[in-house]
């Protein structure tokens, strides 16, 4: 692999002043709606909605929390749009097909995911934000960057591709230990998926070992990303209701909602553990 340009995302300190002293630390990016080059044809003043991102591995409880938050926000009178990986009309099903084969290579898969992401960003998220909706993203560019980075694709390269992504208003990281994620996933599916255990990386022939090692690598990437992008880290091992309470509190204060009281409806009560 050729090393990508060093120019990506490194121009946040115009005067070279304050950031110098924090040289040892991972630099926290200066907030602006985009990470770098803006997406063509987007006028920022049009975007009146809010983008919240939930990140975390499989088994961290993201989807559960998104269902509950959607219900809560709707009950508060906010319209919600969701997004997630492989849900684009353009290439969602193609990625499923690629992953079912064993012939796809890392860069191709990584770029198919980027296509999937930007298709959803341009055709689903931006229109929703223009209409003032709340967008809840079940994973975002961070999972995509982490997965590709642990497979040896350069971080600068990846940040360069996603510099046109919209910066979330808040990013929550549901952090769980790989062992706990394993228990939860196994309970849910009675097996461990090929990709979630990183079997394409030949880490171990033992599936449990492979899963733990792969998820540990991903977690390390997330620790780095968390510092760089200012994630709100939550204990994903807490109970659903406790995690949900913290999420509601942060989101409510961001949106200016006074009451954070919420009790799931009958339809969702099975999630409330």
């Amino acid at each position: 692999m050729t090393r990508p340009d060093k120019t990506n995302g490194s121009s946040t300190t115009p005067n070279g002043g304050p950031a110098m002293q924090a040289k040892k630390k991972v630099r926290l990016e200066v907030p602006s709606r985009f990470y770098g080059t803006p997406l063509p044809g987007v006028r920022l003043e049009e975007l009146s909605g809010t983008l919240f991102v939930l990140e975390g591995t499989d088994g961290s409880g993201r989807s559960t929390q998104i269902s509950l938050l959607t219900e809560w926000l709707e009950s508060e009178g906010f319209a919600v749009q969701t997004m997630g990986l492989r849900r684009s009309f353009l290439v969602g099903q193609d990625i499923d097909a690629l992953m079912a084969e064993n012939s796809v290579t890392r860069t191709t898969l990584s770029l198919m995911y980027s296509t999937d992401f930007f298709d959803q960003l341009e055709r689903r998220i931006l229109p929703a934000l223009r209409s003032g909706l709340i967008v809840l993203a079940d994973r975002y560019i961070f999972t995509l960057i982490a997965r590709s980075a642990v497979r040896g694709i350069g971080r600068d390269y990846l940040h360069g591709i996603y510099e046109m992504a919209l910066r979330p208003d808040l990013t929550f990281w549901l952090n769980v230990r790989p062992e706990i994620a394993f228990d939860r996933e196994f309970k849910k599916a009675q097996t461990i998926s090929y990709w979630e255990s990183g079997r394409d990386m030949s880490l171990s022939n033992d599936l449990f070992q492979s899963f733990i090692r792969y998820q540990s690598l991903i977690k390390r990437e997330f620790e780095y990303l968390s510092k760089r992008h200012g994630f709100i880290e939550l204990d994903g091992e807490g109970s659903v209701s406790e995690v949900n309470r913290v999420l509601r509190k942060r989101i409510a204060s961001h949106l200016g909602i006074r009451s954070t009281h919420y009790q799931p409806s009958h339809a969702l009560s099975h999630l409330w553990r």
Binding site: T2, T37, G41, D94, R106, T108, M112, M164
Partner: protein, 270 residues
């Protein structure tokens, strides 16, 4: 700049005097000042030491510039001679074909997703064909390469710097032939041979004009100008697409022979 390339190749100026002069003259007339873009900062092309025994020869140029014909003839020459070669072309990977087709049919593609999908397609070809073949000691011939994406996707509005990063995994070619024909010649060749220009091919997604022929011409003009800006930054060898086919092919074969040690791809003697 044309002169420089030829000197660099070790050719005598005398020999290609006519072609050179007409080429240089043409450049001077048609493009007196190439517009500077926001990303006009010179792009450094990494002069990395090759990590593989193979070699890569690519042809670039707008539609109708004659590049495919010339590469085909080069390929025939090498094939007949029994050389270890592989031919690859842009947009041919079956892996992402269905997505590309769906996107084009339903006109779902934006400049960014158009670009990313083609990059995914190229990555597949690169990782599964081009790189293994280069490592396996093949002479790889590519009809269009990353410069097609740089010229075309920038014409659609993608930032050049973003595109450079996107394709930074691609090996740098040993030779890049840039076939250049005047816009009218190229456009006429395409329009005459095709009943209807396709939507994306004509750049209709840019909303330049409702008339496909007009849109196509303006789109090609932008691409041509983007190509011209890469002549120096990416060491293109400029080939005059209006020169007679066999004469141009003779020149192309000579340049390949000069720049690449063809012996290493020759059939093994018994």
């Amino acid at each position: 700049m044309v002169m420089l390339h030829i000197f660099h190749n070790g050719f005598t100026v005398q020999k290609y005097d006519m072609r050179l002069h007409s080429g240089a003259f043409h450049m001077a007339i048609t493009f007196p000042n190439i517009p500077a873009t926001e990303d006009a900062a010179p792009v450094k092309v990494a002069a990395t030491k090759r990590q593989y025994p193979g070699a890569l020869v690519v042809v670039e140029g707008i539609d109708g510039s004659g590049k495919s014909t010339q590469l085909y003839l080069l390929k025939r020459w090498l094939e007949i001679g029994g050389y270890r070669i592989h031919f690859t072309e842009w947009n041919s990977s079956p892996l992402v074909k269905s997505a590309t087709r769906r996107g084009k049919q339903r006109r779902l593609l934006t400049p960014i997703t158009f670009s990313l999908l083609h990059a995914a397609d190229f990555a597949d070809r690169c990782e599964r064909q081009i790189l293994p073949l280069l490592h396996g000691g093949y002479l790889v011939l590519a009809d269009r390469y990353i410069y097609t994406a740089f010229a075309r996707d920038a014409a659609r509005g993608c930032a050049p710097r973003w595109l450079r990063n996107l394709y930074s995994f691609a090996p740098v070619p040993d030779i890049t032939f840039y076939f250049r024909a005047p816009l009218d010649v190229a456009v006429n060749r395409i329009v005459a041979g095709r009943p209807k220009l396709k939507y994306y091919e004509a750049g209709m997604d840019l909303g330049i004009s409702l008339d496909r022929a007009v849109s196509f011409r303006i789109f090609q003009e932008r691409i041509l100008s983007n190509y011209d800006q890469m002549i120096e930054t990416d060491n293109f060898i400029l080939m005059d697409g209006t020169v007679r086919v066999n004469k141009l092919q003779k020149l192309m074969r000579q340049i390949v022979g000069e720049r690449i040690d063809l012996g290493q791809f020759a059939p093994k003697k018994k």
